[in-house]
């Protein structure tokens, strides 16, 4: 299990960590998405690595003069096929993500996560403040109304 023997797995791990790091640490949404893609791509490499059979040839049906050649050791084709789907999924995810980033940029004027988060927060706080103010005013007016009602009842 020395490094050269399993270097592909190490590469997967490195790619994965780089991708994750970008998602965690970069504030820019596009960069984050790129990190996410990197992360997904690393999985493709993982699958392809695990499908490899030492000494196997590519999983292509080999014909000798029109007849199948016997006794050929193939690399396992199933993970490769699976990865076709995963590639499609990855592309779709990135596409949806980028479309969302474009919309966010249109709506917020920025595609930096901290800026957008800050804008969101202000929006919430402004709404809270407005609601509190409204509630206070309403309470004041209903309280006077209730007092008026009470005194009215006492007179009656």
């Amino acid at each position: 299990m020395t490094l050269p023997n399993v270097w592909n797995y190490w590469a997967v791990v490195v790619l994965m960590m780089v991708g994750l790091y970008i998602v965690i640490a970069k504030p820019n949404y596009v960069k984050k998405l790129m990190g996410l893609s990197l992360f997904q791509v690393s999985v493709i490499m993982l699958y392809v690595s695990m499908g490899r059979v030492t000494g196997g040839t590519a999983p292509i049906y080999i014909l000798d003069d029109g007849a199948p050649r016997p006794f050929v050791l193939y690399t396992n084709p199933v993970p490769h096929v699976l990865m076709l789907t995963a590639i499609v999924v990855g592309i779709a995810t990135t596409a949806v993500g980028l479309a969302l980033v474009v919309r966010i940029r249109e709506a917020y004027g920025s595609s930096e996560e901290d800026v957008v988060a800050e804008l969101d927060r202000r929006e919430v706080e402004a709404a809270n403040a407005l609601a509190a103010q409204r509630a206070a005013e309403s309470d004041a007016s209903s309280a006077t109304a209730a007092h008026a009602g009470a005194s009215h009842e006492e007179h009656a």
Binding site: V23, L36, V78, L82, V101, A107, D120, S138
Partner: protein, 491 residues
């Protein structure tokens, strides 16, 4: 015909999705979507009610384990029936508010919705590990777009956050499946569980399970990984949040059960890996932190969303017991919470459509103006608390029995203590509805009268949740069979 039911549940919504886009007619798209979901629901119910043992459906006629197999057992049929029914309720009778959210984009909305339904149904019925990933991504990708269709701009950030975390979760699942395949050489559930015995002492198997568990944990919103949920639930269009609240986390929970029970085996997961010890504290924290956060939320949908996080805590707690009784309680609570929470979200949608704002204080004093809606909320809330006579009590009772049978009475206390937090957040809404004068200076209501479409589906679901609470044998017996067959096959 009936042997094709498993594939029909998935195919009908899946094929209707492009149809909706091609037809390009607003009303027709709604009708088609409704019909597709209803058909899917019919198929699921027929299967659930007539099956006597697990149904296997070889896709394309290939022998299972060589080809892809659809496999529906009792639990799967139960979850599929719940998912498709809730989809029908959420889409067909969706409130006017829902329809207004997506004006001009109906075709895409309904297409994405159908894709989402197809993805979730596919996850439930498939017996192939990689298919789980594919359907997971189908449902996730459509969910991101659905969430992004919310009215406010915050829906966009919520959707993008969900996309990051969802993709992360999905990729973790993919890695887990890959490692599992590496160890067993198969993707078929039955074959995996047969072969995993030989490799279960190897580290790669442990890692495979860890990736699967954390990946599904993200999608399931297990406590520290829950942060996508409040945003997604509170910003999505109403039909979507009602649908997601009832189904998305439930299907993921079912997947987690299958990973634990069907793929890796209870003995391995709990006795060797001690997964229960990992899940239990997280569940407990979720139960309290979710409910506590719900108490302080200023908006109705966020309150419900945080309550969902707390409820997921009950689900994972039930699973972490690692017993058949726990599984039984988890499946019961899955159904109970799905029905209840969807009803509550639909009621919230109806209210919000009336006042045009989802802040809690805008509902002040509306209990009198909308007596049926408010009553529905109260009943649904009682079910959320777990008051006797509601389906929430049936599941909580099962959970308590399971916990006590496991010899851990202190857990029972924590469960009961956390349900008192539910009392507080439910009664917070009740207080606002009934015990406050309407805001004197509130902006005028968006509408005067609630249309029937906004309270009929919610009302039906509330009736179901109360009815199943009274005739509790109906769900409990079916679920007991499901848990038994699931668990019995595993040990």
């Amino acid at each position: 015909m009936s042997e094709h039911l498993p594939i029909l549940m998935v195919l009908v919504p899946l094929l209707s999705a492009p149809l909706v886009v091609f037809i390009k007619h607003r009303k027709a798209s709604r009708v088609i979507a409704t019909l597709a979901c209803a058909l899917s629901a019919c198929a699921a119910w027929t299967l659930a009610l007539q099956m006597s043992s697990a149904v296997s459906y070889p896709l394309g006629g290939w022998r299972p384990a060589i080809g892809i197999e659809l496999r529906v057992d009792f639990a799967g049929a139960y979850v599929a029936a719940i998912v498709s029914t809730i989809a029908t309720f959420a889409i067909s009778l969706g409130t006017r508010g829902t329809r207004e959210d997506v004006v001009g984009r109906e075709m895409f909305f309904y297409a994405a919705f159908l894709m989402c339904v197809a993805g979730l149904m596919g996850m439930v019925v498939t017996g192939d590990a990689f298919n789980v990933f594919v359907f997971l991504e189908i449902s996730s990708l459509s969910t991101y777009t659905l969430v992004a269709m919310g009215k406010e701009r915050r829906a966009l950030t919520a959707a993008l956050n969900y996309l990051f975390l969802g993709t992360l979760g999905g990729t973790f699942v993919l890695i887990g499946i890959g490692l599992m395949y590496q160890m067993t050489g198969t993707l078929n559930a039955a074959a995996v569980s047969a072969r995993i015995r030989e490799v279960e002492h190897l580290r790669t198997t442990h890692v495979a399970f860890a990736f699967l568990a954390v990946g599904l944990g993200i999608k399931l919103a297990v406590f520290p990984l829950h942060q996508w949920l409040p945003g997604a639930y509170s910003q999505a269009p109403h039909a979507v949040s009602s649908f997601l609240a009832g189904t998305a986390t439930k299907v993921m929970y079912f997947q987690l059960i299958r990973v634990v029970v069907s793929f890796f085996g209870v003995a391995y997961v709990f006795d060797t890996l001690h997964f229960g010890d990992f899940l239990l504290p997280l569940s407990l924290v979720a139960m309290f932190a979710g409910s506590l956060s719900a108490i302080f939320q200023p908006s109705l949908r966020r309150l419900l969303a945080y309550s969902s996080i707390g409820q997921v805590g009950y689900l994972t707690l039930a699973l972490s017991l690692g017993t058949e009784a726990g599984l039984n309680a988890g499946l019961l609570h899955l159904g109970a919470h799905a029905v209840t929470k969807t009803a509550l979200f639909l009621i919230a949608a109806a209210f919000i459509a009336q006042v045009g704002d989802d802040r809690l204080d805008r509902l002040s004093g509306l209990g009198k103006r909308y007596p049926l809606l408010s009553l529905g909320f109260v009943l649904g809330g009682l079910s959320l608390i777990g008051v006797p006579g509601t389906v929430g009590f049936v599941s909580k009772w099962a959970l308590l029995e399971a916990v006590l049978a496991g010899g851990r009475p202190w857990l029972a206390f924590l469960i009961l203590a956390s349900s008192m937090l539910a009392v507080v957040y439910v009664f917070r809404v009740v207080e606002v509805l009934y015990f406050r004068a309407p805001l004197a200076n509130a902006p005028p209501l968006a509408r005067e009268r609630a249309d029937w479409g906004s309270w009929v589906p919610a009302g039906l679901l509330v009736l179901v949740s109360v009815g199943l609470g009274v005739w509790s044998e109906l769900p409990s017996e079916y679920v007991a069979t499901a848990a038994q067959s699931l668990f019995g096959g595993a040990r």
